[in-house]
């Protein structure tokens, strides 16, 4: 690879070493391979205006495997479209392509199309518009990439003097289901207060599931009480997929006591 000077190669080597160290200490993961492309991009973009963004994303990708795909695409796609030189744009494309190849990102076709289209548009200013246009079309006509985690999120709980309190995270399109597991022992009466909104219709937007029972509720405020025994899990699920101009969200609090 022909580089301006040794500095670029040394920046890349620093990144590769960090990648090697991560894999050595955390165990090898094929998902981390796109980071190699990102560190190449980092070296090539040193000195350009993209560099701070790529550096920030490199650090985020390095320390947080959960955020790595986000960091890869947020640095790779702008590099693809707004990179000053062809080398940067190719490295950005490889970063995007390798992420989409190795990590199962849903609704990724528009991302790939934007990354590829950047090579067919010579005008720099027109290329700048690729991302906003791609994002808008994707949001309006397709969908946006969904959450990577396949396992549902489990709500935290504390039991004190026979009374249980659940700490339930916000349920939204990036975290579409939360489980409230019953304590390991005893029979428990559990109350749940739900507040759902951010949609523009009254069609049911959440499902509350316990064993074989299921309750569908529209947006608004609801309170439920259920009896739970060991092995039960109460699931709060968002029934809405992504839709533009909708901020579907469920806030819930729950608590109960041992019967």
């Amino acid at each position: 690879m022909k580089t301006k000077d040794n500095r670029e190669v040394l920046v890349m080597l620093s990144g590769y070493n960090a990648w090697a160290a991560v894999n050595l200490f955390r165990g090898f993961s094929a998902d981390s391979l796109p980071l190699i492309a990102l560190f190449t991009l980092l070296g090539l973009s040193s000195g350009s205006v993209l560099f701070p963004i790529v550096l920030g994303c490199s650090l985020v990708g390095l320390i947080s495997p959960a955020l790595m795909p986000w960091a890869m695409l947020v640095s790779g796609l702008p590099a693809c479209t707004a990179g000053r030189t062809m080398k940067i744009r190719i490295a950005g494309f490889i970063a995007v392509a390798s992420t989409l190849w190795l990590i199962p990102v849903s609704h990724s076709v528009p991302l790939a199309v934007v990354a590829a289209a950047a090579f067919f548009i010579g005008n720099k200013h027109l290329r700048y518009f690729l991302i906003p246009v791609g994002f808008t079309l994707s949001a309006v006509f397709f969908s946006l990439p969904g959450p990577l985690a396949v396992e549902p999120v489990i709500a935290g709980s504390t039991i004190k003097d026979g009374v249980i309190d659940y700490d339930i995270p916000e349920v939204n399109t990036s975290r579409p289901e939360v489980l409230l597991p019953a304590p390991f022992e005893g029979t428990w009466a559990v109350w749940i207060a739900l507040e759902a909104g951010g949609v523009r219709d009254s069609v049911p937007m959440m499902a509350i599931r316990l064993g074989e029972e299921i309750l569908l509720l529209p947006s608004g405020t609801d309170t439920l009480s259920v009896t739970m025994i060991p092995g039960d899990s109460l699931a709060i699920s968002l029934m809405r997929d992504f839709k533009p101009f909708n901020h579907s969200v469920i806030h819930a609090t729950a608590g109960g006591e041992r019967l």
Binding site: S14, A21, P65, I131, A139, P145, H247
Partner: protein, 667 residues
Amino acid sequence: MRKFIRSHPHSFVMAGFGVWIFVAWRLAGMPDPGFAGRIIPAAWLVAAILNGKINRGRWFFPVVLSFTVGAWLWMLYPSGWIITAAVPVAGLVTWSISISENGRFGVIRAILPVLLLSLFTAEINGDEVRFAEQASDLSGISSDTFSETHIRSGDISGTEGHHTPLFPLLIAPGLLAGDSGLRIVPVIFALLAILLMAKLTGPRIAVVTALLYPGFGVFGLAMTGWLAVGLFTAGVLLPEGKKWTAARFLIALILVALKMRYIGLAAGIFIAEYACIPGRKWKWITPLVWLSAGTLILAVDRYLLNGLIFWSRYGNIEAVRLIWVNIFHRPFTTIVHGGWSLFDPEAGLLFRAPWILAAISGLFIFSRKQSDRFKRLFIPSVFYWVFLVIWSGPSWHGLPAPVGRMFVPMLPLFGCGLVAVWQKRETRLLVILSIAISALVIASPICRYNYADGTDSILTVLGVASGFSMVRSHPVQLLAPLLLSVSMLLVLGKAEKYRAIFFAIIFAGAFLLTLNAGGYEAEDMSPGIVQGASLYPYISDPVERYFWFNSRERMLELCEPGQSILLPGVEPGDTLLLQMSSGGGVLSVGDDLINVETPLVEMPSLFRSIGRSERILPDWPENRLMEEFTVLLDSNDIENGNVRILHHNGSPVYFDRIDVLEEIVLP
């Protein structure tokens, strides 16, 4: 109109970006459209109005594109939207720094949009409430919420807080506007301080100190830090001469009246003043004689006259004794506290403010160029830091108030250091990393606070649990960041030659930060693993743990039916290493029962030597010794790859951490 648009193209493009943030936020369906989705675009519109004809800079389009891609991908990770929201905020901070040198009111103009964002997002914290209550009580200006005084930890009485009355009195006029006026006077103080800083360091660096940590942590909040910065900077800017010396001494006294913590700063101002007097050979003998005489008089009073003259009326022997103990009885512990004050991820100076490293390297240049000014800044700042660590001991961080506030009075020194190295590319890089941190704190206001329990709020947003922390790590581990920092300083000194090694150090630092030894720390166990059990103490405020003789980590308490720990991914033949304590509890691990009884901690000899008479501490959970219990798992203990740990009977059992040793199968 057309003429106006033509003459202000950059402002219109910036306003367009503000509108785009608003639209893209809704198009992507990102959370919090009503608050964050409005104030961030609004801040960009304010910036566009204030921008005038100034060029927006080359960084603008990459920021626009990164935000757009971030919005496109926000659902990939639950905190993805926070980092996406931080991108335009980072752009705004960059804009502030870049335009600060333009025009007559460049500094104020540059700061306003980010200041407004920061003020809107920073919730009123406990210290501010206390100041407001005192202000209302002392001035008689009644406000809705703050007119009633509530006692808090460390207060002298229900009506007398642990804060001195000067600052509450100064901010009291703001309460005329009601509760929401609490920050009016502090904002004015902060703006005046920043204007003074601009005289000292130039506008750009002044803006950097305000919008990046540690200054950002309390910028505009009703806390004393920025008033102290203003006073200290004013003292440094005063000309030479006897009457100005008197003014500097007055400033030193006001600093002490403002907050007792600034006594180190005040002492440093006195000493720096003396240090700047043209040299006589034995000039330090005179103050040493006075200091010795004063100490002798106090000692005679205390030990021969039983405190008749001074101690019984004015002095607090315990405060002096604390300093004595920290220096002479546990010097190593005090040095370790000093080390963590630099490197701890939650509260240390360098994690949230990497630009300080560049500033420190610049201090060497600054000291050569302006020796006297350097002395006036360096001596008080170092005295302040040393006094803070020696006097406060393990509570040097002052958490859970906004992180970094303890270092704010050192900003004029760091600002002057930064001026000397601003042009270097490495400096810009460290500044950019610091910008990212400020932006993240604005986008996720909870990141402003930490609880000294090893779970840093920024790393939590990033989905990372650090194994490196002042409450978890062995002091020897401090050597790693120390080595990295010294290497970085050496590289910064010879930046042209060693530029690329700089990146190796940055990556090594990031890696070190997240290097987790594996296993399960009590504070990090996810809800998927822990059910029903809570952390002890139940309140996360570190004040609850200040006087623990053992570790200051929070512990997981298993004590009643329904609570359990479900460890995944175990196999027959694996060994569980359980770090736990109890006064006699029985634990069930799979099918095995373990009797957990660990001894009470003896009072450390250090504390016995300084007057604590008891040998055995009270039977509280924090006073039980943590011991390691091993359990070899067989197939009966495991169900679907999980092993369940339950409290069976007896006293509660407290966990510090759990490790799983996999069975080694020899070929």
